[in-house]
Amino acid sequence: MATGRIPINGTAAIQSTTLTTTGDMIYASAANTPARLGIGSSGQVLTVASGIPSWAAVASGGMTLLSTTTISGVSTSVTGISGAYTNLVISIENVVLSGTDTSINATLNSTQDQVSSYLQNRIAWDNQFNDDFRLTANAAMDVSVPNKMANVMMISNYTSSNPKPFQTFGSYTGADTTIDANFQVGSVLITSAITSFQIFTVNGTSTMSGTIKIYGVK
């Protein structure tokens, strides 16, 4: 401010020098007493302690929406996933294909064949195998409008250096109104922190629309 003050109501003002850092906020530490609240660190949330606002880590057990991504093309990747949580929940919503494809699969950290799992879907029960996440049955599928596919995936201890347990389930209504259910459980074999997620059509001919939401769980 040219005057060095932030006007409040035409008669009072707060010195602009009170704010020293990007992200600073002003609050009342007592009646008629402006005070500075410095920006918190990444992942912290605004809370109240002893009657005044402060930044704090997310409470244990809380679930936080980390990102929302609009799916596009034959493959969509979400990168830069925060490592500040314990578990990841990935919700893949309202996926619609532009045409017929073999199936929709998913990977983590752009790594193929990274899960050892058991898979049950409409086609068959598949015993332990190493492959990708199979979000739909491995058969000709057409989830054209208005039929939509949805899937939820949970990965435990996703930043650990050990294999990580996962569970995923979903469904879609096919063009013939048949409901396909899909259930896959097992272990992610990647031994580094999970930082990215990819969804793709196996044949790469049909484009997808829909939404990926990623939640962190403390």
Binding site: L66, S67, T69, T70, I71, S72, G73, V74, S75, T76, S77, V78, T79, G80, I81, S82, T102, S103, N105, Q112, I123, A124, N138, A139, F200, V202, N203, G204, T205, T207, I214
Partner: protein, 70 residues
């Protein structure tokens, strides 16, 4: 050329581009693997149906097969 999207949720950057050569090669590998898997599943389903037909020929009814979880 297939289009892909990359969303960096740390920076907010969204890139839409065509697949590169490595990604195209991976796509072809995925398609080949999926075709093999689909063939395996089709063969397993054919064997299952064949086995069911043999049971029916032995006199089992549809209700019998359902009771057996088949």
């Amino acid at each position: 050329m297939p289009l892909i999207r990359i969303h960096n949720v740390d920076t907010g950057e969204i890139i839409d581009r065509e697949m590169n050569a490595q990604e195209l090669a991976q796509l072809e590998a995925d398609k080949a693997k999926a075709a093999i898997k689909a063939q395996e599943l089709a063969e397993a389903e054919a064997k299952r149906l064949s086995a069911l037909a043999k049971l029916v020929a032995l006199g089992l009814t549809t209700d019998d097969l359902t009771a057996l979880g088949l």
